[in-house]
């Protein structure tokens, strides 16, 4: 994973426009948040291999933190806090946001082939 370069990510995002694609979207603060801090809450959600089409895709951001929005016919897909990206061997776009010690906080991944179960 490397720090996000907006122009390169934008180009990759556009390669998926108006195609059937598979999306992995996730956010988490881990299963131990409340164990270590009584005032914290365990929250997380993920959806793996949602099959969608979007007509617009855009990455925006300031400094190291970025947001991605995907516009679908009847809705949106959104992720905030993205810091790193990569394209894997299958040509899938892998993006994630990490805290200062490398722990994943949010991820959005798009591919023309589904992600492993």
């Amino acid at each position: 994973m490397k720090p996000i370069k907006m122009e390169e990510v934008q180009q990759k995002l556009e390669s998926f426009v108006n195609k059937d694609v598979y999306v992995h979207l996730e956010t988490t603060n881990g299963a131990y948040a409340r164990h270590f801090d009584k005032k914290a809450y365990n929250v997380g959600a993920y959806i793996r291999n949602a099959k969608v089409q979007f007509s617009r895709a855009k990455i925006v951001g300031e400094g190291e933190f970025h947001r991605v929005g995907l516009k679908m016919d009847i809705g949106w897909i959104y992720a905030e806090g993205l810091t790193h990206w990569n394209v894997d061997d299958e040509g899938r776009l892998i993006m994630a946001g990490h805290d200062d010690v490398g722990r994943l906080m949010v991820a959005i991944q798009i591919g023309e082939k589904p992600f492993g179960q």
Partner: protein, 225 residues
């Protein structure tokens, strides 16, 4: 604690690294006493959020990385590992009955004298609680004359308040280097945590890592029949 009175120990935890953080001291003592140890590892920790520090993994590469770390730790601790193929964070949604039968069939094959798992309801992570519950159920379903002893590990902050002091406390201090080596073998998962511990040690002036990792406590499960 007479470690050599056991003939085979099976550890049942859901994540690669649970064995190192939770029981690598205990495992080391059993191995030193010549007792075989088999680790039934529920998942590959696919949904873990630690990606290395500095970062080297991502959501898609993590399962293979953690699998390799697990195989490596099997060499470090000199144990056999069997991967059960469930998916991280989903164990509590599986059919408990099926998971229990799956574990029971493995236990009947291995025929251990001792099973170590998480204490259901007191193990913080939903996977720990779910697999612990299935493991307790599996052992319970075994014929009472073939049934191994069961030790349950609790992690929750309220464990002593609710469950009392653990029946068995293993002090890993004499072999702590081995425990550290096992934990560090799970590089993707341990690096961030070790950094935090080093920072905490600097401010408290104590070895926080040793303090938190030294004792491994277990409750002996009683089956009423």
């Amino acid at each position: 604690m007479e470690f050599n009175k056991h003939k085979h120990v099976v550890i049942i935890y859901p994540h690669p690294d649970d064995e190192s953080f939770g029981a690598s001291g205990t495992i080391t003592y059993f191995r030193e006493a010549g007792v075989p140890v088999t680790y039934l590892c529920g998942t590959l920790g696919e949904m873990g959020r630690n990606m290395g520090s500095p970062l080297f993994a991502n959501r898609e590469t993590l399962p293979e990385i953690r699998k390799q770390e697990l195989l490596e730790v099997a060499k470090v601790l000199d144990i056999e590992v069997k991967m059960l193929g469930y998916r991280d964070k989903t164990l509590e949604f599986e059919d408990k009955d099926k998971v229990a039968e799956h574990l029971k069939s493995l236990l009947e094959e291995i025929a251990p004298s001792l099973v170590i798992t998480h204490y259901p309801g007191y193990a913080v992570h939903p996977d720990h609680n779910a697999l612990g519950a299935a493991a307790v159920e599996a052992v319970k379903r075994m014929d009472s004359d073939k049934r191994p002893e069961l030790w349950a590990q609790a992690i929750s902050n309220d464990r002593i308040e609710v469950l009392g002091k653990p029946d068995i406390v293993i002090d890993a201090d004499p072999i702590f280097d081995k425990k550290v080596q096992a934990i560090k073998t799970h590089r993707s998962q341990a690096e961030a945590m070790i950094k935090r511990m080093e920072q905490a040690s600097e401010s408290s002036g104590e070895n926080e890592f040793r303090k938190r990792m030294r004792y491994e406590g277990f409750y002996i499960w009683s089956f009423d029949d």
